[in-house]
């Protein structure tokens, strides 16, 4: 201790500094327009961002997949970059990488998203390749077969991952069997095996067209003639028109219950506790964001304050709300959930504490200090969070996909700042009612079933891993 004592005596301490004057920052406003082919385009100049991000949103939602072919949207998305009328699959990958670009395409409930990131100097070339993929994908039989096999090989890896396994089980529990949301986004062994090139092409022809697509372009566009680049790339895309697909209403069974996915010998239990709630169109959204942050947004939120920093049961537990789908007409929903993992022997005590945190929150509400810190964080981190082109493009694309106005995120910050403690409390208590939560536990049933049953948080069933 003598060293420390010496340091303490010789170091000069100063009081905590006070902040200076904040420099104003606003979420960027994109410029909205359309090409002659009716493709909607959002562009946003971000000075200094030399890696440009392009997001293309296709109105090809998972509920449009034909019965028995779950996963065809995923295979189609992947097949877009596996060859065109001008390039073989290997050539296409090589040409994109020659641009220093990354291209990702994936299918989710609202539709297919194609995401390109590329240094601005090579944007014309890379966007040309992406356009080629959208306009004239080859969908060669042998490549589709390979993608199908590759996807089948991936499934056991996902099943083995505790967090993925828990997510799959929760969807199955919450949604009715005839809802696409009850089944894995990327299909099952059975449905994926049934996918062939004809099915992929039929899905492409049914749902991929410029008139129902949107492109978002974000980055330092100072030296780019965006109109010319667009005209020479995505502008060459043609197609018929189509009505946007109606969004089916989301229903969910959130009767409080527990499902244990048995993993004999697991050293931890993966928790996923969830239900369905309001989307961004709902007036409660800002209050729900605020309250959810106070519950489990960070290491100093209510859950981790107890489960991690007091008890040491976990490396971290988070509460979040993630929009599943929205149409702006009241058919939207988000997944509200608490997730994390706790060591096997402490699974019962950890869940007991988790429920105590929820009950205390419902009984006593949030404090003004908690609400203030949450607002300061959620609003204050915006300039950090949106430093890169990719993060701005991602949020703009989410807004498009969820049928929100382009200034939604900008307005959200103002609304968060106006949300009071009482509203935030009401929103989070409504979002996480103790008797309406479906709990999925991926862990060693022999060790955790009885302690969990004793908590009385709902009927307990055990399924095999």
């Amino acid at each position: 201790m003598s060293d420390a004592a010496a340091s303490l005596t010789s170091m000069e301490f100063h009081p905590q500094p006070q902040p200076g004057a904040a420099r104003p920052w606003a979420f960027p406003a994109p410029e909205r327009g359309a090409l002659d082919n009716d493709l909607t385009v959002l562009r946003c100049h971000r000075p200094g961002q030399k890696v440009v991000a392009v997001e293309i949103i296709l109105d090809a939602p998972l509920d449009a997949e034909p019965t028995g072919l779950d996963g065809v949207a995923t295979i189609m998305a992947r097949a877009l970059s596996e060859g065109t009328d001008k390039h073989t699959a290997e050539e296409f990958a090589a040409e994109l990488e020659r641009c220093g670009a990354t291209l990702d395409a994936h299918a989710d409930h609202p539709g297919v998203r194609v995401s390109l990131e590329v240094p601005v100097s090579r944007l014309p070339k890379a966007l040309g390749l992406v356009s080629e993929a959208l306009i004239a994908p080859a969908f060669v039989e042998t490549e589709i077969e390979r993608l199908v096999r590759n996807r089948l090989d991936e499934i056991p890896h996902e099943t083995a991952n505790p967090a993925r396994r828990a997510a799959k089980q929760l969807s199955k529990e919450l949604f009715p069997a005839d809802s696409r949301m009850s089944r894995p986004r990327q299909g099952t062994e059975e449905t994926v095996a049934a996918i062939d090139a004809a099915a992929v092409r039929a899905f492409y022809e049914g749902y991929v067209r410029p008139a129902t697509a949107t492109a978002v372009i974000v980055g330092d566009l100072t030296d780019v003639d965006v109109d010319k680049v667009l005209a020479e790339t995505l502008g060459a895309w043609t197609g018929d028109t189509a009505e946007p697909r109606p969004v089916p209403p989301v229903t969910a069974d959130d009767t409080g219950r527990v499902v244990v996915v048995d993993r004999p010998g697991a050293v931890q239990t993966q928790l996923l506790i969830g239900r369905v709630g309001a989307d961004r169109h709902d007036r409660v959204w800002p209050a729900q964001v605020l309250g959810t942050y106070c519950l489990g947004g960070t290491l100093t939120s209510r859950l981790d304050r107890v489960l991690r920093e007091e008890k040491g049961y976990t490396y971290g537990v988070r509460a979040f709300g993630q929009v599943l789908r929205s149409d702006g007409k009241g058919n939207g929903a988000s997944m509200l959930a608490i997730s994390g993992s706790v060591d096997t022997p402490n699974t019962g005590p950890a869940l007991d504490d988790l429920w105590k945190v929820l009950r205390t929150l419902a009984a006593e509400g949030l404090t003004d200090a908690e609400r203030d810190v949450a607002v300061q964080n959620l609003v204050g981190v915006a300039p950090l969070k949106y430093e890169t082109a990719a993060s701005v493009a991602g949020t703009l694309a989410d807004q498009v996909e969820q049928h929100l106005p382009d200034d939604f995120q900008a307005q959200l910050y103002a609304r968060l700042a106006e949300t009071g403690t009482v509203e935030a409390t009401a929103a989070v208590v409504n979002a996480f009612p103790v008797d309406r939560l479906v709990t999925v536990l991926v862990g060693d049933a022999a060790q955790i079933e009885e302690p969990v049953r004793a908590l009385g948080i709902g009927e307990v069933t055990v399924v095999t891993g």
Partner: protein, 448 residues
């Protein structure tokens, strides 16, 4: 506080500049101005990592990193997190073989708070460190280990391969997460002693990047850090020198409950900071980076024997770097078939070298990765610290991409020929078992 380098952009630095300064107590400071966004990143690298740990105390550097968030003389409990997040900032810390870093990204007007917080814990952590924090964070770290390594398929592969690639007793033989037994054995006195030995201004580099006024920032740094005493009690890590070639193929077969067979390998490669290491980076990118690489084309596209096949580079300055091969097999394919194909591709590459198109692609990919890394204030702050701590010159961060672009095809071929050979690797083979209980025993980064 004499000004070091002037803030004039070097060719190829993308217009980025950095200035260097040193306080009387030995704290090195690097500043880089950028007023595009009203944010500032603070990054502090301590020159201590898991390579400094001694036998029986693996995981101590990382456990200690957690304790740095448990309060100091003027900051109570979780105050570091609460104050930074309440100011609209984000923060964390990570531990690797070679260093421990702590970082905050703040709205510009809250920069002074981050500096005050870092100085408080650098100077006075032991005023707050107690048994309660120690016992709690020991449990948290053990749960981190379970979550990231022990409870996921292939989770302990990195630990196993590292242990094979670096011999017993070598400072890189164990990984930063440490063993459960050693985490259990660590005492409060170990933590105190670790702080007294390694946490001192003359064993750290502080970088501040973004929307800053350099004169004001330096004045704050002098004010908060200037009176923290330096000391010279640091013990150097054990010698990490090894022959260039392992000289034998090391091998371990793991029978575990995993979803598919896997072939993983670690090749011994040149140290970070050398031209040969940049050449190796390009070689591994051509062979196993992205969707147009030789191994992806061969195993995933043509032979269809693998779900995924790739190569990565773990750059290390104090020991040989590692070239990291990871192949997960498709369906019932056996490992020898994969291994023969990998060896054939590596031998062909060593014999022929990269094509001009492959060089262009690999260099374009690596260039974009650098643009990404330097494109945020936090990424730039971290790279400036890295080059200052490991290579003595932060300016090297701003020109690193030029050095990658300067490498020739001949140099890429030479490093492949010399290093990517069967007698220079440690191999880990996974064979799935379906029984209920399997023999289960464990990466680089370990976040807070």
């Amino acid at each position: 506080m004499p000004m070091g380098h002037t803030a004039t952009a070097e060719a190829g630095s993308g217009g980025l500049t950095a200035t260097e300064h040193r306080l009387a107590n030995g704290l090195r400071v690097v500043l880089s101005e950028d007023h595009l966004t009203p944010v500032a990143a603070v990054c502090l690298w301590y020159d201590v990592g898991s390579r400094h740990e001694v036998e029986g105390r693996t995981g101590l550097a990382h456990l200690f990193e957690h304790l740095m968030f448990q309060g100091s003389k003027q900051v109570h409990g979780n105050g570091h997190f609460e104050l930074v997040q309440g100011a609209g900032g984000s923060l964390n810390g990570t531990t690797s073989f070679e260093r421990t870093n702590y970082f905050e990204t703040m709205p510009t007007h809250q920069l002074e708070l981050a500096l005050w917080l870092e100085a408080d814990r650098m100077g006075s952590l032991l005023a707050a460190l107690d048994d309660e924090s120690m016992e709690n964070q020991r449990d948290v770290v053990k749960n981190e280990r379970r979550q990231r390594y022990d409870n996921v398929p292939y989770g302990t592969a990195f630990e196993r391969l590292t242990a094979l690639a670096y011999p017993e007793g070598h400072p890189y033989h164990h990984t930063p997460i440490g063993s459960m037994a050693d985490l259990d054995a660590a005492t409060l006195e170990d933590a105190r002693s670790f702080f007294r030995t390694y946490y001192a201004p003359n064993n750290a580099v502080l970088s501040v990047v973004g929307d800053i006024d350099p004169q004001q920032t330096l004045a704050w740094i002098e004010k908060y850090f200037g009176s923290i005493p330096s000391h010279d009690g640091k013990l150097p890590p054990r010698d990490g020198a090894l022959p260039e070639i392992i000289g034998d193929q090391l091998r371990e077969v793991v029978e575990e409950e995993v979803p598919a067979r896997a072939l993983m390998a670690a090749y011994r490669l040149p140290h970070d900071g050398t031209r040969e290491c940049d050449a190796a980076d390009i070689a591994l990118t051509v062979l196993g980076g992205g969707e147009s690489s030789r191994l992806h084309n061969r195993l995933v596209r043509r032979d269809r024997t693998a779900v995924a096949a790739g190569f990565g580079l773990l750059r290390l300055a104090g020991a040989p770097s590692l070239g990291w091969l990871d192949v997960k097999t498709s369906g019932g394919v056996e490992v020898p078939e994969i291994e023969a194909a990998v060896d054939e591709e590596l031998a062909r590459f060593a014999a022929e070298g990269p094509t001009p198109e492959e060089m262009e692609r690999a260099q374009a990919q690596l260039e974009r990765e650098w643009l990404d890394r330097l494109g945020t204030v936090a990424g730039r702050a971290d790279e400036l610290c890295r080059y200052a701590v490991l290579f003595g010159d932060p300016q090297l961060a701003l020109t690193a991409v030029n050095r990658v672009l300067d490498v020739t095809a001949e140099e890429v071929q030479a490093v492949a020929k010399a290093r990517l050979r069967p007698d220079n690797r440690a191999v880990l083979v996974y064979e799935p078992v379906t029984t209920e209980q399997s023999d289960s025993d464990e990466e680089e980064g370990a976040d807070q």
